[in-house]
Amino acid sequence: MDPSFDLPDSTDWLATPLSLLAPFESSLRCQVCKDFFDNPVITSCSHTFCSLCIRRCLSAEGKCPACRSSDQELKLRRNWAVQELVDAFMTARPSVLDLARKETVRLSQGEADTGKPAQKKRKVDHFDSEEAQVPGTSSQGRRTRSQGLNSSAEQRAAPQVMPEIVEDSHDDEEYVPDGLVSCPICYRKMKEEAVFPHLSVHEREEEPAFQTPTKPTSFGSLQVPSQRGFTVTNKQPERLPAINYSILKDMSLRKKLRDLGIPDWGPRQLLQRRHTEWMNLWNANCDSKNPKSKRILLQELDIWERTQGGHAAMPSAFGSSNNVMRKDFNANEWSTSHDDDFRRLIANARQKSETEVRSTIPGASVSSSEPAEPQAPQPAQQRPAQQQPAHQQPAHQQPAHQQPAHQQPAQQQSARQQLAQQQLAQHYAHQQYAQQQYAQQQPAQQHPAQQQPAQQQPAQQQPAQQQPAQQQPAHQQYAQQEPAHQQSAQQRPAQQQPAHQQPAHQQPAQQQPAQLPVNGAHVQLQPGIDANHVIDLS
């Protein structure tokens, strides 16, 4: 996905000795968008959200998302104090996080070394040993995912542990004062080289030195810089009033949109939604100290148009909740759109009787691979002899499916198949995980674990191969939703691998058994699955 999706998050602190900053940071984030508060406003029930987030919620539902008391847009008030907190924290965050990460590295090196750092470490251990916490603390610096599972316990322990560590680093030749100096005007701590740029903030009352790439921090005067768009003058732009759509005829609503300078095409409902979104974007912008130009707002509306508005793909039948229970439920349409599912179920039922036979087709269905099974407690599941052919010979075994899927991206069937394979592979990862889990608990009964996959696999396969007519709409829909992604996914199947590894930077792969079945496994598994297709077809 997009590189900007490597988002800073409150969990960044968890791996550092400053893990207590995680809840602090998450309280500076909006509960709706999970991002730092952007133009925070306070509701009449005293909950704070980003201006845009709460406006969207209120126009959708009219209630506060936190306590569900009714509220109105007009009653929202800006919350400057929170805005300043957020801005200050965002300015300090990179350097503090950097420092904390360095400390993490230092602590973990201290572990490995028995030299001088280890002595400091022992000092920390000493405090903790009083609470019988030594093993947990010795790896304090490197919180792994498996430890993360116990994080609630660890967080409870944290208040006792943290002060020692912080003190410890204080004792170390003034580490903190060395790295950070405070601004002579606002006393905010920052890196030395950041001070001069920061001072100019106070002088010019402009934007602060630090900006996140995703979102301009609006911290400065009410003066609007000169390059603002023509509609936004030096004064605060005027708020748009809400419209009672029911009293407007189509034509006058369309005219209204034209007058506002936003697109006026589409059916009535879309017009209303677009107007609401524009009103929310506009009015939220009015809450900003540093309003954006209308051009930028129009771009944001365009994003909305593509993701949720008129250019968005229609939501799948499954996506809208509880369709089946609606009164105007259209059974025919439902059965068409769920043809895949029904066929799968039928196939499943047919296959059930053959399950015993299938299960004798050997454990190629359990195509396990090393990284996917870090725990690997059962040698019985890892059948290298059977995997080997599966991994190495997909090409001769199935020139018909496997090759087109990767080499002829334009074919819809292959794209669909690839998706099916991914899902299938994912499914196997789950099965495997389930087997592991169960086998760990009941080691004596591991044996015929292959039944299930063998039985379900042909069922999943069927829609991919037998229903070209069904594939087409499905594929088109997918392509409309995310054309760029789809294309790249088709052309470079291997590309997904880096994407999956991305979260692994933060948590070394081997240490996180729980996550692997979801993230890593299917990439590894894919060749093995393909071989299974052949077995079943033959």
Partner: protein
């Protein structure tokens, strides 16, 4: 790239869940190219007939998430439970938008709100497994069995769990 609010928020949740997962729950997008389609694994809660089982489910998110809730469906074999449709779709109040109440029994406070999250959904589903709500069951047969023949219900669930694990 035009990344919507929904994608960003889902990515935050994904990061949070993978860095700091609650016990017995794993969840993430099937591929990171499509943040709107997740898969989740839930362990059967201890001390219930579901104990020992691991249940796979898929979550599909609407484009206007988090304003609207996702849908959740167990995959790979049914889950015999009063609040799970025979096709695997989970019927639980946190997944219902507050606007419509198809079942006429849920308090608005239990239902979806934008401040809920995938984590909370999965935790609710875990506790749903432990404590079915038979007031407006999705699977009437299962609800009847749960109410009237508890032992049989538990045995059936245990059998399904074993079957689901391929034993």
């Amino acid at each position: 790239m035009a990344s919507s609010v929904a994608q960003k928020r889902l990515f935050h949740e994904y990061k949070n869940l993978s860095t700091n997962p609650p016990e017995g729950i794993t969840a993430g997008p099937v591929t990171e190219d499509d943040m709107f389609h997740w898969e989740a694994l839930i362990q059967g809660p201890e001390g219930t007939p579901f104990d020992g089982g691991v249940f796979a489910a898929e979550l599909k998110f609407p484009r206007d998430y988090p304003l609207s809730p996702p849908t959740m469906k167990f995959i790979g074999g049914g889950v015999w439970h009063p609040n799970v449709y025979p096709n695997g779709t989970v019927c639980i109040s946190i997944l219902h938008p507050p606007g419509d109440d198809p079942n006429h029994y849920e308090h608005a406070s239990e239902r979806w709100s934008p401040i809920q999250s995938v984590e909370k959904i999965l935790l609710s589903v875990m506790s749903m497994l432990a404590e079915p709500n038979d007031e407006s069951p999705a699977n009437v047969e299962a609800a009847k069995m749960w109410r009237e023949r508890r032992a049989e219900y538990e045995k059936k669930v245990r059998d399904e769990v074993k079957k689901g694990l391929g034993l």
